[in-house]
């Protein structure tokens, strides 16, 4: 009888211990933008090693991320396109940037070295509008004396809606009034010209397959696939190459407080070294947390990511947010509260 009692007691202890473990092994979920996915996945992996808390991120696209956080099926949403003040207020959302990256125009031409070709924003817009159809157009050759350019231009762009597209067309709209009036800005637009590849990898594939093509991809993809990137002239009239330094330069001048929800779009920023097609990727969370402990876990995660996790950003060719921006973000976190109005973090 005693033996039975003992074993029952042991069993109970084991069960309770098991429950305690499962309670502490929480996991947080997020969904949204594909652009920062490699970084978030890396952060999740390292964070789990460091703390044991798992973060599941589904890269379903910015639009999907916004929908999921609106319907509260995830703890946080991620979007490359910042929501404006009204949209944030309507759903009671708090928004903050988590990382910065760049979009790079790439080409495939015989006899042209990576970084050799130079373009300006208006010329790029005219190419994508279908007004410049050949590489030996005067607008291009004037910018590139001594470079042998010939043949028709094939425009490659995204077929799916994407934050990468948003950053790219936002820049084109800023430098070309015609783009702004005819096409406009969005994660998907009505393209006047070209073939569409699905995802960064689809565009990268098409550009590699088609001679004389021009496309745009996220910087990491251009680097991985060794695509020939293009130098762009920035707002200060300087030709710059895409790299961590020029992305950081674009981010450095940003006035995060100027827009509600820190929704600053970093395209066409002033500064001699600024890369003109830079963009931040944003996180969306509910200001009133139904499950405060989940909200707290999410903020703990991003606190870790924005401090200890920054080295992984650099490794993966994203730009770490400067410390001043991180403290601004943390001030924004005070808005995230439980039902009684107490800040969760």
């Amino acid at each position: 009888m005693n033996a039975v009692k003992n074993s029952l007691a042991t069993l109970a202890t084991v069960l309770m211990a098991g429950m305690a473990v499962s309670a502490s092994a929480q996991s947080i979920t997020g969904a949204g933008a594909t652009f920062p996915f490699p970084l978030y996945a890396k952060w999740a992996d390292e964070y789990k090693k460091a703390t044991g808390v798992a973060m599941n991120y589904q890269s379903i696209g910015s639009g999907g991320g916004i929908k999921q956080i609106q319907s509260k099926t995830v703890d946080f949403g991620a979007s490359d396109m910042p929501l404006n003040a009204e949209a944030l207020a309507k759903d009671g959302l708090v928004q903050f940037p988590a990382t910065i990256g760049g979009v790079v125009p790439v080409t495939n031409m015989d006899g042209v070295q990576p970084g050799q070709l130079k373009l300006t924003g208006p010329v790029l817009a005219d190419i994508y509008l279908g007004k410049i159809k050949t590489w030996n157009d005067k607008a291009i050759t004037d910018l590139n004396p001594g470079v042998k350019l010939e043949g028709p231009i094939t425009v490659v762009r995204r077929s799916d809606g994407s934050g990468t597209t948003f950053i790219f067309v936002d820049y084109l709209a800023k430098v070309s009034p015609e783009w702004k009036s005819k096409v406009g800005v969005g994660t998907a637009v009505s393209w006047p010209e070209g073939v569409g590849g699905k995802g960064n990898e689809g565009v990268a594939q098409y550009v590699q397959r088609i001679k004389g093509s021009i496309g745009y991809v996220e910087f990491a993809y251009a680097k991985k696939n060794k695509l020939d990137y293009i130098q762009m002239r920035n707002k200060d009239g300087q030709f710059v190459k895409p790299d961590d330094e020029t992305f950081a330069a674009a981010a450095a001048g940003a006035d995060w407080k100027s827009v509600a929800g820190m929704g600053v779009i970093l395209t066409d920023q002033a500064g001699a070294k600024s890369w003109p097609m830079t963009g931040a990727s944003f996180i969306l969370m509910h200001a009133k947390q139904d499950k405060p402990q989940n909200g707290q876990q999410v903020l703990k995660f991003f606190d870790w990511a924005l401090k200890s996790g920054q080295k992984f950003a650099t490794e993966l060719d994203y730009v770490p947010l400067p410390p001043a921006t991180v403290s601004l973000i943390q001030a924004e976190w005070k808005k995230i509260t439980d039902s009684s109005g107490k800040a969760v973090f």
């Binding site: 809606g161 096409v183 994660t187 998907a188 073939v195 689809g202 397959r209």
Partner: protein
Amino acid sequence: MTGITETLPAPTAGTKPRGLASKFALQDAVFHRSTQFFAVLVLATLAGIIASLFVGSWLTLTQTGPKFFVTDVWDPVRSLFGGLAPLWGTLITATIALLIGVPVSFGIAIFLTEMCPPVLKRPLGTAVELLAAIPSIIYGMWGLFILAPILAEYQPAISSSLGNLPLIGTLFQGPPMGIGVFTAGLILSVMVIPFIASVMRDVFETTPPILKESAYGLGATTWEVMWNVVLPYTKAGVVGGIMLGLGRALGETMAVTFVIGNAYNISLKLFDPGNSIASSLANEFNEAADPNHMSALITLGLLLFFLSFVVLSLSRWMLSSLSKKEGRRT
């Protein structure tokens, strides 16, 4: 006697055989009901899908109305949507697929039923059917990495020769990228061949040997036997098989998305990039945050559903009318 009835409790005595029977009856009823439930479940799912497609597309159907099906603007920024371009792309790629796939399948089926040495019959037939087992994404990747570069190389030659023909010349023009409506149609033709060929082979085999033997006896060639005896006898089945292939071609998504170029334009030039209903859905569903955009996509889905539904129903009907006819004759 009385002793027995007294020792055995009355209910047990009376119900033992009846109890067994009612147990079986109950089992039967449960079995009947549950299988019925599963069968009805399929119908309910179908009805549910149609209903949800209607609900989802309501916004577009009421606001844009029939204009949706005849306009070709697709502008997510201004929230203007017309479904003509993807509809056009879907029909054109399916047509190309059938124009290439049907003659090839016909050849395969003739060879397998009439001329193939018995040793090869089985392996060849299985190989054709295995084509259907290749996942469509593999076809897409193969199309993009292998077929597109090859086509890109030969397209200028095609454009400068066939492209100058009167009337149909326009069809063979367009940028030599190897990506476009023509490539999508070509990939689709490979994908529909196993469906059409295996149905054709099966229906050709239903032709009574006596008909064929008589024709051969009269001195007909294999071609004459196929064209004048086998084909008329199996007409409905052959058309049914083609419809089955068409159904697949209309709904195919991944393989087409890879190679069609995903551009919303309507062009007679087959080397131009285009779009199909299935591939625009695959491309845009993720990021369609605007309710109008979402509704337009669901309307496209509804359109595709009806196209495939009609085509597949016709194919079933034709195949079944063939088997009825066969039943009457034998």
